[in-house]
Subunit: 215 residues, 2 copies
């Protein structure tokens, strides 16, 4: 099993690819410096997702970037993804582990500090935790806030990837709350120049770690 | 791998379960005599499908009825289905076979005689072929007609399950065209009394085989 590298974790979304080339746009983000890509689409037929994932599997390998598939464990297995990500409405993590064995890591979405207490026994390798800030990407999301994030990183030993409304000027706050990685949709895909938006995130993260080393 | 038993093959559909209990309705069809159930829903979260499938797995076993899962190979594997069914927009059959090994049979939808010529090499165990008649269950379907079905059963050695607009009074025509099984949605689920609608189909099929034996 590959060790997850989720420092800057791009998550896709149907709405940002309605008039935009998927592969070309993703490649811009890879050039800009994302370390992981989560393929998450809800409105495409499986055959199309499989074909796109085959291309993205090659592309992410070329950039040494992790490929994670959301929800569809079968697609993750079919293309040899590095990881699979499931939420509360997807297959339970223990069932996913039974299907994938040790071939890939498993991520799990948690959206409250309370729920975090129930998951220590689950066979998961990281936690996607949020929404840290207000977001327009998801409807009916739950806000955990930066304080919730801080509590969460103290409550569990599993790496926490923060998600929800994170932009480059919030990176410092999120990382200092203890997040091991930052997952974004809009902060990268919401921009015309995806490469540059990615670079802005990378710069903000580097800035934080630089400061940390010199403090 | 279980040998498929698709004589009377019930396929589910979101629209018929909007105000109706899934498990209770399916049990009526099992009591009425379906030999296989294809779980096909397009609008439910995976977790809900998984939980429903766990119940249906027990139920179908109790009635010695095959359980087949549409599209989601991961769900089929997770609940130990007897088969998985994929269409032209789902994962390709050879990829499915790689995932499931010999643990289950694979069905594949074909909707024209021409396409039938390309599939002899595919690792599939039966073909769902249609639409034989006009249907309201699927939008943008292709009509193969009873003549298309007759040609199809001559063109391939794989068992053909006929689908699309088949009712009890068309059973004889469909079976004499060479179909090994009949798949229905509306002919069973379109009725208030699902058990009785199923029995009407079973009676029509028995009637055909009785006549055949005495001719």
């Amino acid at each position: 099993m590959k060790r997850p590298n989720l420092s800057l974790y791009l998550v896709t979304d149907d709405r940002y690819f309605q008039d935009r080339d998927l592969i070309g746009t993703i490649e811009q983000a890879l050039q800009g410096g994302v370390t992981a890509l989560q393929y998450r689409f809800k409105k495409k037929p499986a055959r199309q997702m499989y074909e796109e994932l085959l291309v993205l599997r090659e592309l992410t390998k070329r950039y040494s970037v992790d490929l994670v598939v959301n929800d569809r464990v079968d697609l993750a297995m079919a293309v040899g993804a590095d990881g699979v990500h499931v939420g509360q409405e997807d297959l339970p993590p223990d069932v996913v582990r039974r299907l994938v064995g040790d071939s890939m890591y498993i991520g799990y979405s948690v959206n409250s500090v309370d729920k975090l207490r129930d998951i220590e026994h689950l066979p998961i390798d990281y936690i996607g935790f949020g929404s840290v800030y207000e977001t327009t990407t998801k409807e009916n999301y739950k806000l955990v806030g930066i304080e919730g994030l801080r509590q969460a990183t103290k409550l569990t030993d599993k790496p926490i990837v923060a998600i929800g409304g994170i932009t480059h000027y919030r990176v410092q706050e999120v990382l200092s709350a203890g997040a091991k990685g930052i997952a974004v949709v809009s902060a990268i895909l919401g921009f015309e120049d995806v490469k540059r938006a990615t670079e802005a995130m990378v710069e903000a993260m580097k800035g934080y770690y630089r400061k940390l080393m010199h403090s």
